[in-house]
Subunit: 339 residues, 4 copies
């Protein structure tokens, strides 16, 4: 990570909680692979504070079992990047564990996210992400304060604890069937100042969606009402302005806090659709790339039946990263932090 | 536009048809403002071919009426960028016609799109965009060949001509009510080679969504099944591979032609949600920024009751631009075109 | 130009003086081509101030005579970009007037420079460029205040008026011989705050030299003593620090105001070597690219016998541009200017 | 390093020779600090070949002695970045060993250089750097084949072995005096295809000079005759074209292989001026930043009396990196290497 302001207090302990959030406590909800994910800071920190130099963080994979991947070398998993990587890199890519197409790659999002969230906190910006849908089960809408207080109580990061229960059951059931589930994660950023972002090619939405689509498994990104706003009339969708406490706000926030690529000062709301994980034990049709003939595969190894719970902190981190970059560029977060 | 290969045949006539597509023939379907939109090429073309130098194109606004905008200077239109622009630029922005937040800005997408589409054609890539939803009315799914043959027959660019009729009526009705409608545009790119794009931050989806969110009014972007794939099981969503005619294809294309940020060789499919235009005659609540008090606005001037028909070629152009850039970078489109 | 803060007072008259500086009053010192170079502002300015939107400026070439260029189409001028452009663009480049390889392209540097210099002035930074060498004739070293007061008195922008006279004579003489002269331009930026820039790849020198090498004819760029410092001992070259008026300065400024890629707070000094113009009437050896055989050329048309006088404001503008970008990024120049 | 094509054979042994070249065998010529500089490859290589993923290489500093740096924390070394880093990072920078302003940072140039040189070799491009001047002692001009055969025989990488001897003596003498020497390194790239690079802001010279100025201690960069061409007439400086063996070459190469920012096909020649190292035992005037008063410093620790010998492979690597990037972008080096 380059570009982190100097003077931010940071040590390897700061990453612990986030790393823990990646792994739901209930073993039936995830792949079974447990990594300690200890973050070693190699550069960019001195005497407990960032120096302004690039921060290099290292996390060693300890719990590795590459044997199940021999099969996928020439038999690409449907829905996975095995085939496209093979085409892109002429077969020289590291196929073990999916290589850099593995969900493990999101550790970098999390590490950068921890730092971004700390920086945002200094200027009063808060980011919270949570599960709004898994396997078709939708959480009810809730006030943001309730969301914040309950999201950590759910093993799938769904603040609607009733829906959370149903989601958990659904994941466990599908896991037994050798199948997988997708879902939707929503992230909200509070207290983002108005007037951030640029029109057209550097719009807030362009930058945020670009980083969201860096997360493996994402197939849709929408802001505010998103696809639902396409079904409303202008008079229903427009957010009326009003003056409250000497500042301009909008009565509703259908826009998700962005108009014309620039922040309105209302919460920035982004929803991200995750497809069901592609690595499933169920027998599927594929090809043998060496023999160029049809084949079958039943994916072995340890794979998550649903990545949404693990994805929640990744989406949170990604929104934090995007906003942090923009706030540093705009000079709201200074290049040297005092105190 | 910088980066266009040298040797492409190009003249100002090449832009005519696209410019015409912007304006539906039926005056009840749009704002009533008619621009000739003649494209003047100032640089980058010599003896009928591109030189490799940046292409500067100029289109003069002729049919301008800025009077209705005096009111919005200090009374921002709900749902429009008037307020955020005012915050971003400290009130120095050109508020007339929405300035660079006007939909007119998409002329640049169209101009670049014409060039991109010509370049793509040289390597066999074809892009087609069409309306799939307006005001909640959905088009039925159709084979791509049928879409291509019918899309130009519809004044709202919806190849399902039955749905098209309903959409037209819906737009006309909402226009009389002083309100507006949103919708969804889908773009498909055919014959894109497999192996294009990069994982993580430079994924195909990151680049395409980033450019889609540069279009005013876009609130959602999804690939393939998008948000619908979040509701499927892995066994339903995964696209099985098979060998056909000596090459690897997928039986379905739920992924929208992208896996792991890299093209699969199948059609790239992206859907883009447009909100209903914010400028509506209906009286709405807003604020007076000078007096910092609540106010009302009834937006005057010539505004589209639905931008989806005009947006179809813009989405098409945007997908073409993104792919063209990537194909030039990958060396598939060479830096000098012969013949 | 994108990225100009909003609120800067700007009108087309602001460019007049700089455009005039391009043409030395004495017709024997330059090509004889006289362009009015009236700058038309097409966008980015409203009610006399910048809006924050990209500024599009247009200057029409009026005094054009392309006939002499037919010969160079296939007989590249030695020392000019005719041949490399032909290779780079496969022969599709616009060869007339050298196309975008013409010195005319530096008008864009000048236009951006006018804006950059105005922005710098608001934060107290001043940039002055002057000729230090033409055809081997060197100006004596002078205090910056004397330089500033005399540079405009010299038709070749050399503040040492004795040397200026010799340079003028030298240019006139070489012109009669059908030959040309090179020289060195120095630019100095005063009152640049300490602590600007980045180490390694984004060093101040990297950014400034990169922009200097965008100017046609530049073959060398050095900071402070530059190549001369390579001949000194550390004890001679190091600039001792001292405290003066409560701030840290250096006693000498051999470093040219940059250490480790970051500004010291002392004047930034950069020297730029220009080769003699390549377009000369003297008969020279070249090739015929169509016949692929040796040939001769005697370059016709209107060409400067020495570009150094015209290059002085270009170097000044280039340093201003580079610093302006860096000061905007660092937040020293704000995104909205008040008053 | 990101962007390395897939399929390049690479292992940690490939870095050994270059790492060795950093340390002249004669202990009197350098700082006395000896690092093994073993390069550990953490990612981007699989089964002995690059995968196309980013390559992460790790080199541990073993021979570290930070004690002498306590003094420089608040007493910046004249000519070093201690003061500017302190200003840039508000005092939070890691001052030990100069932090990222240390010459040690050039290990990254070397590592990337090894890879770049291997890639260049595949397309026939060769890069060789050598010392042309140390402490005012200049090497005579020599044919490139002689340079290549002799440069490794000189402990200071000067192929003129007579001059080399004088340089060595000069370094040893100045070292005993507690002082230091600067010099000039030249790099030449052979067999670069014509037509590479872009005009104006992305010129070959812009890109190469930008990377050269990333090397600590560089104060000047010139191409071909550079500052000397500023003293020639056009008729002397222009390189006449001729046809030889069916291709266009120039009779001389005063331009250093670049015209209009684009390669001519002749050798690319760049010269880089290094100042004398600033860390010298001789007592120098400085300030105490805490007390804001004048002070003295006599720099302790292990410092090179002349960095030119160590800089030679760094300059070579930097030119290789710049060219490699450009050749990959132009598609000359493919994204996947076969065989």
């Amino acid at each position: 990570m380059d570009g982190c302001p100097a003077g931010l207090r940071l040590n390897s302990g700061d990453f612990k909680e986030t790393m823990r959030r990646r792994v739901p406590p209930d073993p039936e909800l995830h792949s079974g692979r447990v990594e300690l994910d200890e973050v070693e800071l190699l550069s960019g920190v001195f005497e407990g504070r960032t120096t302004g130099a690039p921060i290099c963080a290292l996390v060693w994979n300890r719990d590795v079992d590459s044997r199940p991947y021999e099969e996928v070398r020439f038999k690409p998993r449907p829905g996975h990047a095995d085939y496209t990587a093979w085409r892109r890199y002429g077969g020289y890519n590291d196929y073990r564990g999916g290589g850099r197409f593995s969900g493990r790659i999101t550790l970098t999002h999390l590490i950068a996210g921890v730092i971004a969230l700390k920086l945002l906190k200094r200027v009063g910006v808060e980011v919270v992400a949570y599960t709004v849908e898994i396997g078709g089960i939708k959480a009810r809408e809730m006030p943001i304060e309730e969301i914040k207080s309950k999201v950590r109580l759910s093993p799938v990061s769904c603040p609607d604890l009733r829906a959370s229960k149903l989601m958990e059951e659904s994941i466990k059931k599908v896991r037994l069937m050798g199948d997988s589930l997708g879902g939707v994660v929503k992230a909200v950023a509070l207290n983002v100042p108005a007037g951030l972002g640029e029109p057209i090619f550097e719009s807030l939405e362009s930058r945020i969606s670009s980083i969201m689509y860096s997360i493996p498994g994402v197939k849709g990104v929408e802001f505010g009402l998103g696809f639902r706003s396409a079904r409303l009339k202008g008079s229903e969708n427009n957010d009326p302005f009003t003056v409250e406490g000497g500042r301009v706000i909008t009565v509703t926030n259908n826009s998700g806090g962005v108009l014309g690529g620039i922040s309105t000062g209302m919460p920035i709301e982004v929803s991200v659709a995750f497809k069901p994980p592609s690595s499933i034990p169920i027998k599927q049709r594929t090809v043998n790339l060496q023999k160029m003939e049809d084949a079958f595969i039943s994916v072995k190894g340890r794979h998550d039946p649903c990545i949404v719970p693990k994805a929640v902190p990744v989406v949170e981190s990604s929104l934090a990263m995007a906003l942090c970059d923009i706030l540093v560029e705009a000079g709201v977060i200074p290049r040297v932090l005092d105190g």
